[in-house]
């Protein structure tokens, strides 16, 4: 987009008036980008304790383990209830406080080096546990023998260290297992991104326009190169919704030329939170899917409707397309939907939702993700204008 370049170029002098601070600003930008990239990547070590699903899993796992421990100890000395209370009194404050702190610092830590992340991830629970157990041990529990109190605390700290390591390692491996690691899966992912069908069809459209409408051919090539720049980018990067929707619009503008009156689009974006962050290329494959299954196989015209709203602190995307009994006219990537699901699971766990329904000849896809705002304020919103 030619109008996006000046936007960022004019941003820089505006936000950094001092001429000498140029390199500092660049470094800060690089760091900010690293943070954004790593937010969705497998690189971050700390589990996302702000995420309800992940937090629940941790709490349940720890409590089950604590319960078993209490039962074991209780069976040994015949006082299970007292043991249970003791374990709970030591475990819960340390656990909840650690998770709250991890949740608070996670975003800051994510941009750091792996070793630093590990150090913080292990140190935090240990310090918190020593503190919490110290307070609880002093005030509530029957006084431990004074001489061995330090030793008693050391054992708790060691347990906290081991448990923190286990937890972090578990979520790290889980994240790895979700990301395509086999070479075949990588290749598939790459092909899905390069989209040979789309490329050749689009080039054919451009060639068809070249003589009759050179200006439109130019714009189409511009849109196409913008799109492929995004296709080839790191899809782990988080982008503002404004940018993602422009990608969708550029895509639709190209398909519009090819499909002519068979495709009509309706975008309801008045309530869209443009500053919401989401993984790059999360929506475009869904729109492509709608064209592929809803419009291409049909002989009659059809409409694709995209509505984005912000109910409470969530972003809701609705994509509606007509259904068709006909098979898709080309072998497309059937993986689009499952791909998106997988990425959502990895990024948001239980906090994202993707539902599809089919009713009355309409296929409706509803996607909901948590509303996470962009830190940096954008002074100028990008807008898509196909006729620019």
């Amino acid at each position: 987009m030619s109008d996006s370049q000046p936007t960022s170029a004019s941003d820089a002098p505006g936000t950094a008036p001092g001429a000498s601070s140029g390199s500092a600003a660049a470094a800060a930008a690089a760091q900010a980008k690293a943070r954004r990239v790593s937010d969705g990547a497998k690189a971050p070590i700390l589990p996302d304790c702000c995420n309800l699903g992940i937090a629940l899993r941790i709490v349940v796992a720890f409590n089950v383990a604590g319960l078993l421990l209490a039962l074991g100890l209780g069976a040994a000395d015949g006082e299970p209830l007292a043991r249970l209370l003791e374990v709970a009194a030591l475990l819960e404050p340390a656990l909840l406080l650690s998770m709250a702190l991890v949740c608070a610092v996670r975003r800051r830590v994510n941009g750091l080096k792996i070793q630093q992340q590990w150090a913080i991830g292990l140190a935090l629970p240990v310090v918190v546990s020593v503190f919490a157990c110290g307070v609880v041990g002093h005030s509530i529990l029957p006084a431990a023998p004074a001489g061995s109190f330090a030793l008693w605390l050391l054992v708790r700290a060691a347990a906290a260290l081991a448990l923190a390591w286990l937890t972090i390692e578990f979520f790290r491996l889980r994240a790895l297992s979700f990301s395509p690691s086999l070479s075949e899966a990588r290749l598939q992912a790459l092909q899905a991104r390069i989209r040979p069908h789309f490329l050749f069809n689009s080039l054919n459209t451009v060639l068809g326009l070249m003589r009759g409408n050179p200006r439109l051919a130019e714009h189409t090539l511009e849109n196409l190169s913008d799109l492929f720049r995004v296709f080839m980018k790191d899809t782990r990067e988080l982008v503002p919704l404004d940018d993602e929707i422009i990608v969708c619009q550029q895509y639709l503008a190209i398909e519009q030329l090819r499909l002519g009156e068979r495709l009509t689009t309706r975008l309801e974006l008045d309530e869209m939170p443009g500053d919401a962050l989401l993984p790059s290329l999360l929506l475009q494959p869904l729109v492509e899917n709608a064209v592929h299954h809803g419009i291409e196989p049909r002989t009659e015209p059809g409409e694709i409707m995209i509505r984005i709203t912000k109910p409470a602190e969530r972003v809701r995307v609705e994509i509606v397309n007509p259904t068709s009994e006909q098979q898709p006219t080309r072998p497309g990537n059937q993986m689009a939907l499952s791909n998106v699901r997988e990425r959502l699971m990895l990024l948001y766990d239980m906090e994202a939702e993707l539902k599809t329904t089919e009713e009355g000849g309409q296929y409706t896809l509803v996607l909901e993700i948590p509303y996470r705002k962009e830190r940096r304020r954008r002074d100028v919103r990008r807008h898509f204008n196909p006729y620019r």
């Binding site: 040979p196 069908h197 050749f200 069809n201 080039l203 054919n204 459209t205 060639l207 068809g208 326009l209 003589r211 009759g212 030329l257 090819r258 499909l259 002519g260 068979r262 291409e296 196989p297 049909r298 002989t299 006909q326 006219t329 080309r330 072998p331």
Partner: protein
């Protein structure tokens, strides 16, 4: 312009059609031709082929409703078995993706062009097309349909210059009568010019032969009844009849077919 080769362009995308037209215009000095029409879908294409009898059809493979290969299958079925011989147009497929590694292409009985099409490549394909024999071409299309697992999902009925596509699942029975085959649906009858034997081969999973001159759709068989003819002449041997769902007619089962047909009941 009588010796100029006539060409029909079939593609659902308007821009793709105009691109082909431009390329053909460029090639006019080297390959004299006239474009007799353009079609955006299968029924349009079939009726234009019938009306203007083009020698060459440039046929897009990926089209909504009916693929190019399926459309070619309709063309070859019409050309192969009609009593009144119709010339088979020479087909050049146009596709955006290289996805068939099919013998038909390897022996060059049919050509296909990759989108975006180059003028030089189009010229080669046109020159090669005019050297081909229609009979080879019909065979090649059948091979191609088999290899790509493409089957017709309609029967094309030509009626007063129009083409009606009758979905196969609506057909109750097919009955050969003189030069024509009667296609019976719940609402009405149509006439097509094809051979019953090749229809039987093509749609063997849906239709069963009950008589030398009739195929019945399996789902339409309601039952059988035994009939003893009571004519004025001496009564013939008793025989079986098919009772059909949705239509009142009954069709006789020949003695030869009864052994296979009766297995359908049990």
């Amino acid at each position: 312009m009588s010796d100029a080769i006539s060409i029909l362009i079939v593609d659902d995308e308007p821009v793709a059609r105009s691109r082909l037209r431009e390329l053909l215009a460029d090639l006019a000095p080297e390959f004299p031709h006239r474009i007799v029409g353009e079609a955006a879908n299968a029924p349009e294409a079939l009726s234009q082929i019938e009306a203007s009898q083009p020698q060459i059809v440039l046929l897009d493979v990926q089209m909504p409703g009916m693929t190019g290969i399926e459309l070619a299958r309709h063309m070859s079925a019409r050309a192969a078995s009609s009593e009144t011989p119709r010339p088979m147009p020479l087909v050049i497929f146009v596709t955006a993706f290289e996805e068939f590694a099919v013998e038909a292409f390897e022996v060059r009985a049919i050509d296909y062009l990759l989108k975006p099409v180059r003028a030089q490549r189009l010229l080669e394909a046109l020159r090669r097309a005019v050297t081909r024999l229609p009979s080879d071409q019909i065979q090649a299309i059948e091979q191609l349909a088999k290899a790509t697992n493409t089957r017709r999902r309609h029967l094309s009925v030509h009626e007063r210059g129009r083409v009606i596509l009758v979905p196969l699942e609506q057909v109750i029975y097919l009955k050969a009568e003189l030069k024509y085959i009667t296609v019976r649906t719940r609402e009405r009858e149509y006439l097509i010019e094809e051979s019953l034997t090749s229809l039987e081969d093509e749609f063997s999973d849906r239709f069963v032969r009950i008589h030398r001159n009739a195929l019945v759709a399996r789902p339409s068989i309601g039952g059988f009844e035994r009939v003893t003819p009571t004519g004025e002449d001496d009564a013939g041997d008793p025989y079986w009849q098919v009772v059909l769902r949705d239509v009142p007619e009954r069709l006789p089962v020949s003695r030869r077919q009864w052994s296979t047909v009766k297995n359908l009941v049990s």
